[in-house]
Amino acid sequence: MATVTALTDVLMMGAQVMLCIAALLTLAHLLRARSLLERVLALEMLSAGTVAGAGLLTLVIGEPALIDPALAVALVSFAGSIAFASFVERRGTDD
């Protein structure tokens, strides 16, 4: 059982590293993007990464209350994306 626990720890660490890679790639695209909609897409992805990261943090440090911010971030990012999209649509240009 000690082997299983060690394997669990290694996999968990790999998940954290992978999530960091995803966040870094998304941040790089956020800085690289030319248009507003691409930035909105990158922010949406970043907030999804935050949801996943809050879930992972709940699992890693064992604090049950940390799952609530994940739901809050998902809600806020949905509202923000809809607002940005309707703004871009009403404005007519995307630059």
């Binding site: 890679i21 897409l41 649509e89 404005r91």
Partner: protein, 123 residues
């Protein structure tokens, strides 16, 4: 038994994080915003949902599991809406889609392989 459940949760967490990283790669590989929306919305939904499933399994707490399930349902409901709305905003504000035009009936055989032609057109 608890150790095996934790191992399952770790495998699911690694899968979710891998798919989120894959969506980050898709941001760089796709040529325009329509391709990026199409690739990332699925990968992000799957990755975040898998991560929340891992949380629900690994915490051994019914309250956390219910909230994670609510988060998964919310993600599954809202992520297609966001993808559709962003794509519609891009289309209506006149973002041109990236189209590669090739002659469907070439009179002479093409001189270079398709990936080199792609590079020549897009450089």
């Amino acid at each position: 038994m608890t150790e095996l459940l934790d191992l399952l949760a770790a495998v699911l967490a690694l899968t979710g994080a891998f798919f989120l990283a894959l969506a980050g790669v898709a941001l760089f590989r796709m040529p325009d915003i329509y391709g990026r929306l199409s690739a990332t919305s699925k990968a992000v939904t799957f990755g975040a949902s898998t991560m929340l499933i891992a949380t629900a399994i690994g915490m051994h707490d019914p309250g956390v599991s219910w909230r994670a399930a609510a988060g998964i349902v919310f993600l599954l409901l809202t992520s297609p809406i966001v993808g559709h709305v962003l794509g519609r905003a891009a289309w209506r504000s006149g973002v041109p889609p990236h189209v590669v035009q090739r002659d469907p009936f070439p009179t002479e055989p093409e001189s270079m392989p398709p990936h080199e032609m792609w590079d020549a057109r897009n450089s």
